[in-house]
Symmetry: C3
Subunit: 271 residues, 3 copies
């Protein structure tokens, strides 16, 4: 994208996905460092509650929020256990959005493994804070860079172009003949348990078939469309808004009720 | 309100009250879907920490925050256990504000039971996201509608007018002769315990009288004006900023100290 | 600063540091009361998760976030256990920023004890909400005042000038000959444990010397530069982005792993 074109379409929006938590000064310092470069941009918190160092969760949250923003929005992802080591800082373009963050796999859910990407390493120190710490590149590098991008800076001016990103694989479920071994990835704020089972292709495979979704001590016999379709307190399975099969309890909390936790196995068998 | 008048007075502010929690992509996707329609509006988080499915708590928080905003602000409330079932989506007007959300009682604290309201059902799909999911109308319906309203859209264009809302009753305390049976509703972040006792009429009834506010193992003998009026660590009762009688511990945490939890009974006797 | 000059440089940004938590209506009401005065200012959450009534923590978070904002930003700090008592409300200027809050020590980390400051008491009720409660000056006084300041109001118009602030001392570590007795202040969201040991002068004193950093059951033998420099799960000490010595576990959680909690002692000996 040319700088002029970027400037034109740029809505001046920078979103944040981090594992900083909502306590302390980390997210506030990052927001300041963006606004210092562009006081007129709107900084939007997506979440600061990514599990510490959970790169794949950050990537998943990004995948399911970025497309809802106006084109030209800058998405900043800072889950960065390797800060201060030799991992790269990068900016990547996709569908008219710019993505800024460490090159450690946080963008894995946006691309397929080995896919050629359009991006740049971030090496031009003139766009950083004057003093760069060893432990907080979110504030010292990524934030001011995002601020400059929100003003229309051409990403090409940030550093050499790159064609690949570090990639972290999604923990795919294992299918044998009419049996799927899956697991719980994490719980949302309602206690809904996300599995690693995407709607594609499994939703199609299971359509119209008898099915059992099983964990220790519970079994669900069908896939519903929405939460209100079972009685209150009853376990239910459905493909959620993020496209993953989730185990829920209508008007309840599956995390607490079913005694399941992230990492636990879930088995699906069908006929 | 005519569309022109709305446009004129519209400060381009959309507030959010949800039970999405601060983890995950839910609130970020909603904010994106608002900003995609109106990239220049300011999206303001009131809270995403309503207890899951606690419609009355959402309504209470709304009642005690909306009037502080500039007229024309759009208040979006998404506590929506019935998403994807036949509950209506609505927009309501009051005091120059617009309120958007599911018709399940989230607006109960704004009106009296049976009060005629000025509102519209939201049925016009052209204001929704192109693809509407079964589980996330916050993102797919309410957010883009709020975005359009923040641009000055006349609510009448969203669907047929309505005159009533689903109403959820406040759990009123029970008064017998000089005795009130009440209960704890919830705790705030300081551990202050909110009762279901409104200042009106009880503050007036009790003025100048000897009073006992009692739970298991504690008794308070007067109603103070502010927190600092008792010694640190001492239990205290006062009518808080939201107009409810609350049980507090000065510089302490009543929730932890008094062993009370939401739902527990509180008795008041007076002479 | 003259009113004209303030107006000119003013980026219309108000930041918030409070102990309100992210539940309930408190922060939302404050944001509304700012926006009602200046619907075009950008309200930025730094944190609402200061430990209840922890004035020094609020001050520390402020110190490590405010300088990253564009000059002219208004920083509002509401940790206010003395609300409704005779503590003053104040506005202070430093480095082109304005700081608004109760005069109870929340600005201690910005100044040295006894330092002459440039500030004003806030007494002019015409800048308050029409009705001021006894328990919520964040909403009724500080917020509308911050809104007016973001429009360029000269702080001098808020009330009489003041030259001193209430000051809360930092809990300094105790040094005897080549031995420092320190303690854990708090943990960040990663479980990194902040000590009360500033980089100055200790970083310099210890440079090139053999050192032991000790608690119950663990001992660290050097100070690293960044987190990734030890093996995963290993305890590590480093001066963090806020300038304090912190005890961390690489890709882990020191709070949970080391059994340390705020208030616990840490001893450093060197040769």
């Amino acid at each position: 994208l040319g700088e002029k074109r970027l400037k034109k379409r740029n809505p001046g929006i920078v979103t944040l996905i981090t594992d900083f938590g909502d306590r302390g000064e980390y997210s506030g310092a990052v927001k300041g460092a963006i606004l210092k470069v562009n006081p007129h941009c709107q900084v939007v918190d997506i979440t600061h509650q990514i599990e510490p160092q959970n790169i794949l969760q950050a990537s998943f949250v990004l995948k399911h929020s970025y497309p809802y923003y106006p084109p030209g929005a800058i998405h900043l992802v800072v889950v960065d256990p390797g800060v201060g080591t030799k991992r790269k800082a990068v900016v990547v373009e996709k569908e008219g959005f710019l993505f800024v963050g460490p090159d450690n796999g946080v963008f894995s859910c946006l691309f397929s493994r080995g896919e050629r990407i359009s991006g740049n390493e971030i090496t031009q120190v003139k766009f950083f804070l004057p003093l760069v710490s060893d432990t907080f590149h979110g504030r010292d590098i990524f934030a001011p860079v995002a601020g400059h991008l929100s003003l229309g800076l051409d990403p090409k001016r940030l550093g050499p172009s790159i064609k690949n990103l570090v990639f972290v694989d999604w923990p795919a479920p294992v299918m044998s003949k009419k049996r799927l071994k899956a697991r719980i990835l994490w719980a949302d704020s309602f206690g809904n348990l996300m599995t690693n089972i995407p709607r594609e292709p499994y939703g199609r495979i299971w359509e119209g078939r008898r099915i059992q979704i099983k964990g220790k001590g519970w079994c669900i016999h069908r896939i519903h469309r929405t939460y209100g379709q079972s009685g209150p307190g009853r376990p239910i399975a459905l493909f959620g808004s993020g496209g993953l099969l989730e185990i829920s309890v209508n008007q309840g909390n599956a995390l607490n009720t079913l005694g399941l936790k992230p990492g636990d196995p879930v088995t699906i068998v069908w006929q």
